[in-house]
Amino acid sequence: MQHFWDQPLSWGTAAIFAAGAVGVLAFVLFFVTYAIYFERKVIGWMQYRKGPNRTGPLGLLQSVADVAKLLLKEDTIPKKADKGLFVLAPVLAFVPSFAVLAMIPYSMNLQFADLNVGFLYYIALSGITTIAIVVGGWASNNKYALLGGMRSAAQMISYEVPLVISVVGCVMLSGSLNLREIVESQAGYFWQWNFIPQIIGFAVFLVAAVSELNRTPFDLPEAESELVAGYHVEYSGFRFAFFMLTEYVYVYAIAALTTLLFLGGWNAPAPQLDFIPGILWFFVKFAFIVFSLFWIRATFPRLRVDQLMGLAWKVLLPLAILNIFLTAIGIELMR
């Protein structure tokens, strides 16, 4: 893909970009459909249930049916909602989530945009979704939605800080913000993957990432037992589907990022296993991260708002900063 970027934009290249985007979208939709299915199955098994098993063989079409239902549902906008913003919010939430996928390298050559500030690009764009959530909460003209939106803003802004700082260690080790180069610097045996030399960074990153995803135990913005459904309480039909989609696309993005930054991306655990294609390794690690997210969801209760903020600023941030110093010292000593 990369060589197209270097050419002047023509109709041909534009069409190729569009086709690529549609391809990614199709793949992402496929992922989301089956991530939801997988999540429900996994959590079901963890709770002595069977999970979806009626629609299609093994319930495989359950998510498809759910999406179809959402799309066919009557589109309701509350009477007192701010209509413009209400309609805008789901779109505003989804677009950046999809756009961040552009910089994810799946293997050495399979990447849509080889940005040299790949990670920063992710952070910058994902911040927009926060705005969308606040907008959605505000425009709904519902108190629960408003509280959910405010919580979400506070939470996502707070957690972006440790999230970014925890990655600085990785960046120092590889000397680049480019995700491909970060992965390349982790080549070799699996103990050379960043999650061992950057164990503190990895831990902070994981916690902050789960929080960025608004997933249990950090699902305060949509805490159904307190705020009913939080910011999307007034949304239904395909607008709700967009919020849902956004959430799962971010699951995709975060799982991919974790794989790239800390689990060696497409590198095999040992050079002897290189005969297995890199993309397979990538997706194995990726699936493991996704599974862990579901696993966490089935296990933990939810934090309280003040505890959540305390965790971000009092625990994760100092740890992340400490990690930077330790990494710097490490680099100095190894030299």
Binding site: I43, M46, Q47, Y48, R49, K143, Y144, L147, R151, T216, P217, D219, L220, A223, E224, S225, E226, L227, V228, R297, A298, T299, F300, P301, R302, L303, R304, V305, D306, Q307
Partner: protein, 366 residues
Amino acid sequence: MIRTEELLLNVGPQHPSTHGVFRIVVKLDGEIITEATPVMGYLHRGTEKLAENLNFTQIIPYTDRMDYVSAMTNNYVLCHSVEKMMGLEIPERAEFLRLIVMEMQRVASHLVWWGTYLLDIGAMSPFLYAFSDRERILQLFNELCGARLTYNYMRVGGVKWDAPDGWIDRVKTFVKDMHFRLDEYHNLVSGNEIFLSRIKGVGQYDAQTAIDYGLSGANLRSTGVQWDLRKTEPYSLYDRFEFDVPVGKNGDCYDRYLCRMEEITQSLRILDQALEQFPGEGDTMGKVPRAIRPPAGEIYVRIESPRGEIGCHIVSKGKAEPYRLKFRRPSFVNLQILPKLLVGESMTNLVTILGGIDIVLGEVDC
């Protein structure tokens, strides 16, 4: 210049964590509650009024619907008060059956509480674990009396149905399994850091406050007051069995949690002994006059339901129907302390505190 104003938020009557149609109007300053006003009555069915036109046997199904999570204890309190008024003797086998179902009910009720409380706090799985165990109790009840929730099992003078063949053994198996499951639950939840940080020190009150507000059950015991009617004013056969009354120390949600969990263990202990001593044969109905007409007079009988002291105040004029029937519902009385506990807490703690009090709306509204 920033203008701030208080947010008036209606929590309920349709809300996932108010455990029914309970409504609290809270004034919020940010997310901090400055005032909370409970509003109830959405489930008021006038049981007490209806009872005035029904004879005592007909009232029993109505008691099922009061605290529908613990219908057996409600059955018992009504039957027991009528029996006491009439001075009836209950056959031992019937009394054993009553005691066994009441203790099973206590386990079931606490399991529901445990599951829903964890759900309130944001953990999903314990809810399903708890319900899968409760399901076994409901199945056993179903075998016994053909109903899973509103049993209508007890009668003035005994119980409606004898235990079917092998039922006692099946209960024994269940009790054995439950001991093991309870350990698992403690492993899964009781030590979870997030869970502990959510409930420790939340909704705290001291023994004096608890007594002033007339709290009962685990809500009272969590403050260190050793008050369990099964021990302090024994009824039924409770004086025959060995069990402890767990008490807390700090009177916070964590102590209430521990009290209730320990009460499950103690109920299982009682069940162990009761099933061992269960008389092989005997009547399930005592000698009851054809017409159940308690002599004129009045009585107040109280027993320990899973939620606290459930009382039944009957005024009889010697007729088949009560002249006045009043239930002292533990949920209703325990709930009074809620507005006091909520002031200064966050929205999140509202759910934690309300869940910790353990109310059933059928009982609050009656």
